[in-house]
């Protein structure tokens, strides 16, 4: 135990008069008592960065993380958008079916249409039936053939749109009934189109997940290299921490805190940029509303606005990336420290 009086007499010449008075006031007993009190868990610890916070490498890393997070969250957001849009398409498609009746020689098309419409209307599970008149059917072809062409001479098929009750229509029985009552009517329940659409949407979602995995892997590698670089740059600090009695776990946690802060900053910038990008795309679509391409985009992706699950996914990904950055650096630092004496 170091005696207070010894220290004081030895260093008397080093201290100023006011400092001398201070020590005389506090006294030896008080000093020793406080020295014995040293012992519980830290509180300044959280506020004291042992790894310097600002460095060129740190700024570059924040930029890399923000770009990677932007790409990752943009991919995830796009996947959610596609999934939502695919859900919307399938809802629209499954909410109605089409009956097509082609003109046949020797048969009255109007009578066939009326017969088929009446039979379908009476079929259980059908909510409503809309018969497209000859003019309406002709109008459907106008975008392709132009308004100058007379369609009266052409054998244009007639359409009946059937809206079924939810889950209440047996399609195969309807098809059998139609083949009896109107043999030339063809019922299209859009199943083929729906299956293709679903497959395409699923493929896009899987592709998005794959890209997301690639982006996160690339980011993990970037963090690993950055951590090694930071360790090389802070070798002196690590040595000092070792010499003053720091455990490897303590040092690696310091690195984890340091990189978690960088990760959180970069991920927040990236995640916020993605949310802003989706909001901007939705805004531009609204402004652009009525333009030639906007209708196609809107029919594919709705209003291009992310649903709540999409927003939550982006926020969760952002937080996960920050934790990922911190943990990767901790593991790398700890493993490296284990190899040092």
């Amino acid at each position: 135990m170091i005696a207070h009086s010894g220290w004081f007499s030895a260093m008397g010449d080093c201290t100023s008069m006011s400092e001398t008075n201070h020590i005389q006031r506090t006294g030896t007993a008080g000093f020793l008592a406080r020295m014995r009190n040293i012992g519980r868990k830290a509180d300044i610890h959280e506020a004291l960065p042992l790894i310097p916070e600002s460095s060129i490498a740190g700024k570059a890393l924040v930029t890399i993380i923000s770009i990677m997070t932007f790409l990752a969250t943009l991919t995830a957001g796009s996947a959610v958008l596609i999934r939502d849009a695919s859900q919307g398409w399938s809802n629209q498609i499954t909410q109605e079916m089409t009956i097509q009746i082609k003109p046949q020689p020797g048969r009255n098309l109007d009578v066939d249409v009326e017969t088929a419409a009446a039979a379908v209307k009476a079929f259980p599970g059908v909510e409503s039936v809309k018969v497209f008149s000859k003019l309406e059917s002709s109008n459907l072809l106008e975008p392709w053939l132009g308004s100058s062409v007379s369609l009266d001479e052409l054998p244009i098929p007639r359409l009946i749109v059937v809206k079924p009750l939810t889950g209440g229509l047996e399609i195969e029985k309807l098809r059998e009934m139609l083949s009896e009552k109107a043999p030339h009517a063809v019922l299209d329940d859009h199943r083929l189109w729906f299956e293709r659409l679903t497959n395409m949407a699923n493929a896009l979602v899987f592709a998005a997940i794959f890209v997301l995995a690639l982006v996160i892997t690339a980011m993990a590698l970037a963090i690993a290299f950055a951590t090694r670089g930071a360790m090389a740059g802070t070798r002196d600090i690590i040595d000092v921490l070792h010499f003053v009695g720091a455990h490897d776990k303590f040092i690696s946690k310091e690195f984890q805190k340091h990189f978690f802060k960088l990760g959180l900053k970069g991920a927040a910038i990236g995640g916020f940029s993605t949310l802003a990008a989706f909001a901007l795309a939705g805004l531009l679509l609204k402004i652009w509303n009525g333009g030639t391409g906007s209708e196609q985009i809107e029919s594919l992706f709705g209003t291009f606005s992310l649903s709540w699950p999409g927003i939550v996914l982006i926020v969760i990904l952002t937080i996960l990336i920050a934790f990922l950055v911190g943990n990767i650096s901790r593991v790398i630092v700890f493993r490296h420290l284990q190899t040092l004496r």
Binding site: W7, A10, M11, C14, A42, P52, L241, G245, H247, R341
Partner: protein, 220 residues
């Protein structure tokens, strides 16, 4: 406390930098480690501090043979040793106060439990007005005193000081030596590496360990 038996150290395939070192540092002892520049004083201190492994021989610290120590054991031993480096090794991004607190901080001690002690120690070494200063703005002598305060704050059983008066004027060197002597009287073993003969003459009763040609000569 510290025991070396036939310890040798070589870097790579070169000839041995240190050879056949056999000595011991007893509890409550005081010794100067001296020799010409490049004789291996700092290397010997690093061997005691376990930052270098000997290529041969036996080293025991606080009763434990060092070649079989685990990392946690090494950390535990280092916590019993205070060290003042020749180049101070202060962390430039921490204040004087934070640098001195570092050994306590890394042990997870509560800041409120040591704040007063760190402040008092800094006042004792004449840095009461520089607690919030960062090392780059301190003079060489002030940095030296911060390094000494950091080594003392844990009240080590063994103090290793590498040229602790190398950056201060003769007057401050005498004061610092008095501090080490007082520390020794209070029970700490002190090893001061220096080639300052006038400093050693001020404390004649200290054991002198003289390094030359890689070998150690002991003068009581």
């Amino acid at each position: 406390m510290v025991r070396f038996e036939n310890v040798g150290l070589r870097y790579g395939m070169a000839t041995e930098t240190l050879r056949d070192l056999t000595f011991s540092i007893e509890p409550r002892s005081f010794q100067f480690l001296t020799g010409p520049s490049g004789a291996g004083k700092t290397t010997l201190l690093r061997l005691i501090l376990l930052s270098l492994r000997p290529t041969r021989g036996f080293i025991s610290l606080f009763g434990r043979e060092t070649s079989t120590l685990e990392k946690d054991d090494i950390t535990a031993i280092r916590r019993r040793i205070g060290v003042v480096f020749q180049d101070f090794r202060l962390l430039d991004h921490l204040t004087t106060y934070q640098n001195v607190s570092l050994p306590l901080l890394v042990q997870g001690k509560e800041e409120s439990s040591y704040r007063a002690e760190v402040q008092e120690l800094l006042k004792w070494v004449g840095l009461g007005n520089h607690m919030d200063a960062y090392p780059p703005v301190l003079s060489g002598g002030e940095k030296q005193r911060v390094a000494i305060a950091r080594a003392l704050i844990m009240r080590p059983e063994l103090l290793l000081a590498d040229e602790p008066t190398g950056n201060v004027d003769p007057s401050m060197a005498r004061r610092l030596l008095r501090l080490f002597v007082e520390l020794h009287k209070s029970g700490t073993s002190v090893v001061i590496a220096t080639h300052d003969l006038s400093l050693m003459d001020q404390f004649d009763s200290a054991q002198r360990l003289v390094l030359g040609d890689g070998r150690l000569h002991i003068y009581e």
